[in-house]
Symmetry: C2
Subunit: 322 residues, 2 copies
């Protein structure tokens, strides 16, 4: 109904969805973009795994963000969801709403890195919004669930926490530093998060439960504990914090962001103590830090301590409507 | 980042995505809403079929539309895409952007009608936008394509054309009538389109090519002809027009809307003359009108005639960026 751009829908789709169509034909894509729907073939004895996430300007990324970062993050948050299932991502569809037609997206590099084929999409005019659905598969019955934690499991996280929150605050000029390397590293963690796809696949059959940290540990861990029907205890002193974050803000603030700032897209995993070394070996092959931060118990709720004393964690993580 | 609503994300998801979770557990949904991603099981020897479409306020529906109609249409346009592949819809994921939290959607009735389970979703604040991805399956290798038309095929459409365009113009007060029944019928065709899912499934193995009519015949048929590597000829005098549309506007205007107004979500199918009676029998079992409007030829492009004379069809159908 509006009439605010120069490119036709087909040109836009060509441009935005070309991201991995340049690759050789894939036997798993029977019919890709250009028909009414995509036709895709799963390997034998696998289950389909599907995730969807939307990013909206002014809410998930600041107005004026680099379109490459927006595209990267939109795909990364979905790949991170598949990583948390231990699934192999294969295909993606994209629903883009654009205020105008002259933008470019950062989907290609990340899609190529994980072998994800763009198989469908839809572009409309409107306030900048990007919805991506990633489809993948996992060996039948082997998907990692949030609800699989067992009493006595260790609670483990990949990488470091709080960096993306710091990066966002640097972008928004809510905090600053003279150290350009520190700023660049933290901003990159916000703008170009790395979904832990390979680690998720390797954790299948080792970990008992997994989820990805999108809203912050204080918001996400209670969900895992609740669906597992267990309590969790976390030693806040063990939270993995990067050197960059530690040099930017005092320790107390760094811990606060690690708990509640969100957007890290690290994996939260529970594993029986007897298998934690197998998990460490997997992480080590990927040059990925792995940190035990607590354990699961019978009971309900999440308790937090610091230096042996009760610690008041933020009540909840990031919730778009609060 | 904004803070403009009263409900938390989980309450919203509970409300919007409950649409068919009330049903009994389904063996094809291994893991539904509540984990990082959905885990779904396809029947043996099937291919996965995936479609995505987005509706944006002010572009695909007028501001102030009944939320039930918006929800219905968002799901219907995707089901229509699967219908055009001859696929069976099974699951849907939903990405909703809402200006506020106090809305209700019309997804449940349509989802239930087609046995579609809601298996994932994402709700954010922002200008009203709804993206739905429908997933389904089709017997391996049997999906209907746009590119399968053969020289000599008849071109066939389901139902009547132009009604939804008339309905939209009634909603927008661009046209009016004193006959409330006529207005209601045409507005219903715009607000609550019926995707031809069952007919699409039945046409598999009979039709050579299929697509759904979302942008209008004049915009959509050239796409089918191009990917089939053929020309098409259409007799504009044969376009199926409803009594309601005929009573609302002069014949010339009715034909114009049938060709270019879009939003009808009828199926466009090509079939060898020897099989057209099989297709008629399928339509008849569904109480669905089927009309032969032309045929496919060797060559390129689409030609239109009316009463044996060349007819100038609108250059293209609905294109959101023009």
């Amino acid at each position: 109904m509006a009439n605010d751009a120069k490119l036709g829908e087909f040109e836009l789709i060509d441009r935005f969805f070309a991201w991995s169509n340049s690759a050789v034909p894939r036997p798993d894509v029977i019919l890709g973009i250009g028909d009414d729907a995509a036709v895709l073939r799963l390997p034998p004895d696998t289950d389909l795994v599907a995730a969807v996430d939307t990013l909206v300007v002014g809410r998930h990324f600041p107005a004026g963000s680099d379109p490459r970062s927006i595209g990267h993050r939109a795909l990364a948050v979905n790949l991170s969801d598949l990583a948390a299932m231990g699934a192999t991502p294969q295909w993606a569809t994209l629903a883009l709403t654009l205020p105008s037609a002259d933008r470019s997206c950062g989907l290609r590099a990340l899609g190529d890195a994980h072998g994800v084929a763009s198989v469908g999409g839809d572009t409309t005019a409107g306030p900048l919004t990007i919805s991506i659905q990633v489809l993948g598969h996992v060996t039948r019955g082997s998907g990692l669930r949030r609800g699989g934690a067992q009493p006595g499991d260790l609670v483990v996280v990949t990488g470091t926490l709080g960096d993306a929150g710091a990066g966002l605050r640097l972008v928004l000029d809510q905090v600053s530093t003279d150290d350009r390397n520190v700023a660049d590293e933290l901003i990159r963690r916000f703008e170009y998060p790395t979904p832990r796809v390979q680690f998720g696949c390797m954790a299948r059959g080792i970990a008992n439960a997994a989820m990805d940290l999108s809203d912050g540990l204080a918001g996400d861990l209670p969900k895992l504990a609740t669906v597992s029907g267990l309590a969790a205890h976390i030693d806040v002193g063990r939270l993995p914090l990067s050197q960059a974050l530690r040099s930017l803000v005092p320790l107390e603030r760094a811990r606060e962001w690690a708990l509640s700032a969100g957007d890290d897209y690290e994996l939260l995993v529970t594993v029986t103590p007897a298998r934690v070394d197998d998990l460490r070996a997997a992480a080590s092959r990927l040059n990925l830090t792995l940190t035990v931060i607590g354990e699961m118990h019978r009971g309900t709720g999440v308790s937090w301590t610091l230096n042996g004393l009760d610690f008041q964690a933020p009540a909840h993580g990031y919730d778009h409507f609060r």
